[in-house]
């Protein structure tokens, strides 16, 4: 996951590198995703999300569709 100056720059990279299905995310959504995903990583009782939990988490952030499916 990379940062891009703009959607145009992301699209140029996508075309040049051959990843036509790549998806961009706003920084706000990326921050929400990071907080949801990693907030407990340093806690003793941390555990990985199950596939169902991860897909549900994506969905709460509006990240739905085939791109965000884990199976």
């Amino acid at each position: 996951m990379l940062l891009f100056r703009s959607e145009e720059h992301a699209g140029h990279w996508r075309d040049a590198r051959g990843f036509p299905g790549a998806k961009t995310l706003s920084l706000e959504s990326g921050w929400k995703l990071a907080r949801s995903w990693y907030a407990r990583k340093l806690e003793p009782d941390w555990r990985r999300h199950t596939v169902d939990e991860a897909e549900a988490l994506f969905a709460t952030l509006g990240l739905t569709g085939d791109f965000w499916r884990l199976r």
């Binding site: 140029h12 299905g21 995310l25 921050w31 990071a34 990693y38």
Partner: protein, 156 residues
């Protein structure tokens, strides 16, 4: 004197929490030797645990070694994504992990990276509570669909 822990799940928990403590206490991802010493487990047991934790996608090892490349989101060495958070400087393998450093530390952060396109322009993102500070239009891009992320997690 090493602890007499024989249950792999117990060793893995001890090793994982020790890595987390090192990150909190020292601001750095520890070596295998440091984890074994701090957790008081034999280095061979800690190494086996590193392998299990990597297989379980808790962390990523440097290829062909039993040293940590990233206890996601915390990268062990310099990368293209730097983060200032909690009074320290950190590294992350990708933009999501860079944001994740501040998230895991539960603090605000400043992410320093570059545009992934050929321009390579430096980009800063300030993460402060629910607020984001960055140039207008900056975005994060995922090259691969979620189900393919772990096929080559370092590239991802």
């Amino acid at each position: 004197m090493p602890l007499e822990i024989t249950d792999p799940a117990e060793i893995d928990r001890e090793v994982r929490t020790t890595i987390a403590e090192c990150i909190r206490d020292r601001g750095a991802v520890p070596s295998l030797a440091e984890v074994a010493s701090r957790a008081a487990v034999p280095e061979s047991d800690a190494g086996e645990s590193f392998g299990r934790l990597a297989a379980a996608r808790v962390m990523i090892l440097r290829p062909g070694t039993t040293e940590i490349l990233s206890f996601n989101p915390f990268a062990a060495g310099p990368t293209d994504f730097r983060v200032r958070a909690g009074g320290r400087d950190w590294s992350a393998l990708c933009a999501w992990d860079a944001f994740g450093v501040a998230a895991a530390l539960r603090t605000d952060g400043l992410v320093l990276g570059h545009c992934g396109d050929v321009c390579g322009v430096p980009l800063e993102v300030r993460l402060a509570g629910d607020a984001i500070g960055a140039l207008d239009g900056v975005v994060m891009q995922f090259a691969l669909p979620a189900r393919e992320w772990w096929k080559d997690i370092v590239f991802t």
